[in-house]
Amino acid sequence: MNLKTSRRTLAKSAAFGVLSTTSFLKYAPAIMAQDSQLAVDYWHRYGGSRAETLNVLAEMFNEIHPEYKVSAISQGDIAESNQKLRAAAAGGGLPAAISADDYDITEYTAAGILTDLDPFVHDPELGFTDEEIAAFLPSQFDRHKLAIYGDRRMAFPQAFSAMSFWWNEDAIKAAGFDKPAETWTEFPDFLRKIVEANPGMTAWMEEDPGARFMSIMKTYGVEWLKDDGVTPNFDAPEALEILTWWKELYDEGLLQFTQSNKIEVFAAGQTAIMLHSSSAGPALAEQVKDFTYNGGLPPQGENTDTLRTETYGSLNAVPTNDEALTKAGWEWVKWLVSPEAFAVWIPASNYFPSRTDLLEIPEIAAFYDADPVALKLLQEVAPAATILSPSAALTEVRGTIVPTAIEEVMMGKYSPEEGVMKMQAESIAAVERAG
């Protein structure tokens, strides 16, 4: 190979590359709001009609606050939006506000990318009045004002949902019940009688055994972490009790674990009961055709003094940014809990409002008038909803450790006693790893 020819070739190639790249880059636009406006990006994980509703809310806000230009941007599902935020945290460009799930908020706080909202909440100009604060459900308003954050408030919800108990009214009536089981002690026999009276029906199907097991522990009055906030509680007698009756129901074929969409299975009349989000109502209304259904608070532990269930639904938080963008982010998330925003968001999302003073707003009143089950859930379930004990290890414990142990118990590899011991030992290690 002629050396001069090679060099010429390389030089031409380089020139070609540079020219083609620079000519293309001319078309790279920048993010620009109008000069007088501050661009306020709000990243969320909603799709479909909820994403459209957030666009409507952004337009409403922009009309009231011409100094801002809020863009509600859908960032895919939970995992994708999480990756997007992590990339922005590393490379710059965090949005002014985000919507994220409980365990994301815990992890983002640990990563130091969220702003403490308490100074804004109590700010005389920008914050809430005492009357407004009193209108919030305390369990929701303080959902992420936690000891593990040094008592800082890292997020609060616009609205929320909660684990609810859905049942096939026709099936339980056929079994001679006029209401569902109210305690977990009654629950196994309740299922047995339903299946006896409704041949061919499966009593109960679950998609996510780890999450469900920990939710049921909560309804027994036992959190998955002890009061010290770091020691797992799977050695509590209630955990063993739950796993024991799960194993019995599984062996009898009354409890099945499935990858199918359990709403679809329930709506098709194949299962008698379903533990699912309170906001599943519209999906059930669309899909259930051949029977009557109802919803309420899940069964509780025999000796529970307080009604409990698990809170679901994303929260709003303000990432760490410069002063102007942080303030803008706060103003947006604060406006999202205003009556005018709720009037749009509650009917569109079927979430519970985090405030208790909204039932007289015409749009919200009309929504609950049209859906008595939603109103019942609001009255029964919403006040009982709290989050699982927050921990950076929660994702691993709920997603891997607990479901694996449950599967091994159901398959007969371990006894329920051994299963909860395994959960406990592995969860202790997971909490230690997570710091």
Partner: protein, 302 residues
């Protein structure tokens, strides 16, 4: 019993006649497995929401609901068409750019002699071992801090760089070790005599690459083009990471607009999926002969 006796005693089922039949049956079964999701998608695209979520599943729609296609087209902001345009821009520009860059690199590794060539090639191949998740954030930082673009200064600060642009979606994928490897293997099969003849005719390396090497490597060029195009057509995470404006996002991100939390109209989702899939299937059908030649010529196996 001898082998001859066996052949004599079973003359009516000679094994040579059975093999093609078994192969045909296996191929038909395999084809059914491959085609089934497409058939399910087509049937599903005409179903109502109730039919889609019925249990046990209902195979055929009660009637053809063409409205699903209309809904699929209109659901995303600015219609699905906007997302198609973006995907076409990103996929074609990116893939053509990839062919240019990778061809030049492959030519250098195949034809030129320079010190450290083998080590450099090993380094390029080594990048194939790095998972995409690891390069995600460094690539994002490069895009965000691209000097002199998007309000950035010469040091890449002060603005957004190439964030939220077509360029951000295209540039990081323009160099691919696997494509360089494929092209290099193909270029190396061209006899040196051609280069010597080209030199006698006064040709330089660039002209030789353009007029001799690339035309002789058409099947592998088409293979690389198709692989690149399909990869870009299906890209989801990277475009999501580097864009914020819906008017710049590709078609895979439009699928967000069909999802409900607990209830999704699967008929509309299937209609949208079919619309998104059809162009790439048609392209493959047109180019499949060259694609297969390219794969066979490169020595790759599935």
């Amino acid at each position: 019993m001898s082998a001859e006796q066996i052949r004599v005693s079973t003359p009516e089922v000679p094994s040579k006649l059975k093999l093609p039949q078994i192969s045909t049956v296996l191929l038909v079964l395999g084809a059914c497995v491959v085609v089934f999701p497409f058939v399910w998608m087509i049937l599903g695209s005409f179903k109502t929401m109730q039919e889609s979520s019925s249990y046990p599943p209902q195979v055929f729609p009660s009637q053809l609901r063409w409205e699903n296609y209309q809904s699929a087209w209109q659901a995303p902001p600015n219609t699905l068409g906007r997302y198609f345009i973006n995907t076409i821009i990103v996929a074609i520009t990116g893939t053509v750019g990839q062919l240019v860059v990778c061809s030049l690199a492959a030519y250098a590794f195949a034809q030129l002699k320079f010190r450290g060539k083998d080590a450099l090639f090993a380094l390029v191949l080594g990048t194939m071992m790095i998972p995409g998740e690891i390069t995600l954030i460094p690539n994002f930082m490069t895009i965000r801090h691209f000097p002199l673009m998007g309000g950035n200064d010469i040091f890449g600060s002060g603005g957004i760089g190439l964030y939220d642009s077509y360029a951000a979606q295209i540039i990081p994928g323009m160099v691919g070790a696997f494509n360089i490897f494929l092209l290099r293997q193909s270029f190396m099969q061209i006899p040196k005599d051609f280069w010597e003849a080209a030199q006698i005719d006064g040709s330089n390396s660039f002209r030789y690459l353009w007029e001799v090497v690339i035309p002789m490597s058409k099947p592998i060029m088409i293979t690389v083009f198709l692989l690149g195009l399909v990869g870009r057509w299906n890209a989801l995470l990277w475009p999501l990471i580097v864009t914020r404006d819906e008017t710049l996002r590709p078609v895979q991100l439009a699928m967000i607009w069909y999802q409900g939390e607990f209830s999704t109209d699967q008929g509309v989702v299937m209609a949208a999926s079919l619309l998104v899939t059809i162009p790439i299937v048609i392209l493959f059908l047109i180019m499949q002969r060259h694609f297969i030649e390219g794969i066979v010529g490169s020595g790759l196996k599935g």
